[in-house]
């Protein structure tokens, strides 16, 4: 009888010690900020083509995860009706993106404030972009800038036109159907760029010099890739006759 009582008391003591130790053992998990940051950027990159496109500046100021666009008309060769056609396209000129990981807030704000023709020191014509850049993390780990130079602009627009006929919504240059889907039509070349920080505001200026023939510049905060266009330059390029070049008959298959 007594031995059973001793046994129960001893069991209670052991159980208490074990439970107390288990409850008070530091409970820990590792924190990997780099993974969280990568995950946030990857999420944005995945959903970027489906983010709303706004062409009213005041809305761009308040909505998040939107793409600021400028509406323009592009000329394409319609392979079904075998004639030239004009259709609306969106030219992306700004982004307001946010995605929070558990411990990281990733925010990037990009806005093309100015762009114009310029000449590089060695005389090559170029388009100079002035891009307002705001970033929630002080140091961008690495920022790559490429310029997308189309092999044949008419072919590219004819390919975009197939998305316009399918979706009945204006496709966005560089974003439709996803970033990088146009690699068959574009050559990506490294673009000269310089980032100028401002000591008194969060806003930095990114200057990019792209070849004059480039349709857009691609900002890469790996794995997030953001195309930005220069609407003024594209408008002037579109007004020059694109119809002089002979279209390749036989539809390029949209992928």
């Amino acid at each position: 009888m007594w031995s059973l009582a001793y046994g129960l008391i001893a069991m209670a003591v052991v159980a208490f010690v074990v439970l107390y130790a288990a409850a008070h053992a530091p409970n820990f998990t590792t924190v990997n900020l780099a993974d969280q940051l990568y995950g946030a950027k990857k999420w944005i990159a995945e959903y970027l083509p489906s983010f709303p496109r706004v062409d009213v500046t005041s809305r761009f100021r308040i909505f998040v995860n939107v793409v600021r666009v400028v509406r323009a008309n592009a000329t394409a060769y319609d392979y079904d009706t075998r004639q030239w056609t004009t259709f609306p396209v969106y030219l992306p000129v700004g982004y307001r993106l946010e995605r929070a990981g558990e411990n990281v807030i990733y925010q990037i704000y990009l806005n093309v404030t100015r762009c114009r023709y310029t000449a590089l020191p060695w005389g090559e014509p170029a388009t100079l972009y002035e891009i307002e850049l705001r970033h929630s993390l002080d140091q961008l780990p690495w920022l790559d800038v490429y310029a997308a130079v189309p092999h044949n602009l008419t072919q590219y627009y004819s390919w975009l036109h197939s998305y316009y006929t399918a979706w009945r919504r204006p496709p966005a240059v560089g974003l439709t159907p996803r970033v990088g889907a146009d690699e068959a039509f574009m050559e990506l070349v490294k673009a000269e760029h310089i980032l100028v920080y401002n000591a008194t505001s969060d806003s930095a200026k990114l200057y990019v010099a792209a070849p004059a023939a480039a349709l857009y510049v691609l900002l890469v905060d790996y794995p997030l890739k953001l195309p930005l266009t220069c609407p003024e330059q594209i408008a002037s390029a579109l007004s020059e006759s694109q119809r002089s070049d002979t279209p390749v008959i036989g539809p390029p298959s949209p992928r």
């Binding site: 031995s3 001793y6 046994g7 001893a10 069991m11 003591v13 052991v14 010690v17 074990v18 107390y20 130790a21 409850a23 008070h24 053992a25 530091p26 409970n27 820990f28 998990t29 590792t30 924190v31 990997n32 900020l33 709303p52 706004v54 009213v56 005041s58 809305r59 100021r61 308040i62 909505f63 998040v64 995860n65 939107v66 307001r96 946010e98 929070a100 558990e102 411990n103 990281v104 807030i105 990733y106 925010q107 704000y109 705001r134 970033h135 929630s136 993390l137 969060d202």
Partner: protein, 373 residues
């Protein structure tokens, strides 16, 4: 059985002794050391607290120092601890160590790295604006949004002089409709704080184009403009908008005039004065009075009314009217229809006035348009 009992008692005593001895040992040698790592998150239960020193922050369990970190921050308040300040929690302490810096939180809210650089962040609202031209520039603004609750929106329409001419309220998501009573340039305010505070320009007008020997005037014109102009179109809309009850229009060098009274509910109003002969009518009083018509756009129709006809030549007045096409509505000095008032149930029309001297034939196209600038 007895052996099992003794083993249990012995194990219990050993565990108790171990726990007591462990709490007396310094860093890292107790039963439950805080692992030293540079990037991890802990949940610490028991008497843990942090004290900030001049060059490091120490994590204590009771009086025993359990770990050292570079500096301690309060994750909930987002501020560093002052030197000599303690941080403690009632039940459990959540501790993040990132890059050797400790972030303390009592409610489990994690520290966030990254400043807010975007400012306001609101869900996206899709705005679609449609104007129905066939009716009196009826405009519908549709809001589509995935808001959790609907939000009131006010739309106010102001004319060129800043007077409120229309207003409407609705909800987001939902739609707001209003109509523009008269041609003009309007400022439209869409107000739904904090989502919208926007001004738009709405232009409602009758565009007169495709002119053949015709000119548009905003006020009196008494000149002899023959050879280039046989049809004078006087735009009276602005006079009615300013509140005049009647207007007298002088059409030729002799000052022959036509007095028109304000129409009720007109969108736009025009007086058409036409001359049928290129070089006759030396008496100035007979010029531009051979066919005088009033063309009024109501909210839904276009009404043509004959005011005066004269002269020796024959005349024909044609209009386009849906769905009949080109219709002869009036003849003078010849056989044919004599409709001195004609209503077109459409938002655009083309008017032709012709005579036996075809060098005076005139034409003008009138189209009601409402668009956002």
């Amino acid at each position: 059985m007895i052996v099992f009992r003794d083993v249990l008692i012995f194990a219990g005593l050993v565990a108790l002794a171990a726990a007591v001895i462990a709490s007396l040992f310094p860093v890292g040698e107790g039963a439950s050391p805080v692992p030293a790592c540079s990037d991890c998150a802990f949940k610490l239960t028991g008497g843990y607290w942090i004290r900030q020193y001049g060059n490091y922050a120490a994590l204590y369990l009771g009086t025993r120092e359990a770990a050292r970190h570079g500096w301690a921050y309060r994750a909930d308040e987002g501020r560093p601890l002052r030197i000599g300040e303690n941080a403690t929690c009632d039940t459990a302490m959540y501790l993040w160590v990132v890059g050797g810096v400790a972030y303390v939180s009592c409610d489990g809210s994690p520290p966030r790295f990254g400043r807010d650089v975007l400012g306001p962040k609101l869900p996206f609202v899709d705005v679609r604006i449609n104007s129905d031209w066939r009716r009196g520039c009826d405009t519908t603004i549709r809001f589509e949004a995935n808001l959790t609750e609907s939000l009131g929106v006010e739309v106010e329409v102001y004319d060129e002089e800043g007077r409120l001419v229309a207003s409407a309220t609705g909800t987001i998501p939902g739609s707001v409709s209003f109509s523009i009573p008269m041609a003009g340039v309007y400022r439209v305010h869409i107000y739904a704080p904090p989502l919208f505070d926007e001004w738009h320009t709405l232009t409602a007008q009758v565009r007169i184009s495709d002119l053949l020997r015709a000119r548009v005037f905003k006020s009196n014109d008494t000149q002899d403009l023959r050879s280039s102009t046989s049809l004078k179109i006087f735009d009276l809309t602005n006079y009615w908008k300013k509140g005049y009850t009647s207007v007298t229009v002088h059409v030729n060098p002799a000052g022959v005039s036509f007095t028109l009274s304000a129409p009720a509910g007109a969108f736009a109003d025009f007086l058409l004065a036409w001359e049928d002969c290129p070089n006759c009518d030396p008496a100035d009083g007979d010029m531009y009075v051979d066919e005088v018509w009033r063309l009024t756009f109501t909210q839904t129709n276009i009404v043509l009314t004959n005011i005066h006809s004269g002269g020796d030549f024959w005349h024909e007045v044609y209009v386009t009217s849906q769905p009949y096409g080109r219709v002869l509505i009036w003849t003078w000095n010849k056989e044919g229809p004599k409709l001195n008032s004609y209503t077109i149930n459409w938002f655009s029309t083309i008017v032709w006035i012709e005579s036996q001297d075809s060098t005076m034939n005139a034409r003008a196209t009138f189209v009601k348009e409402c668009y956002w600038g």
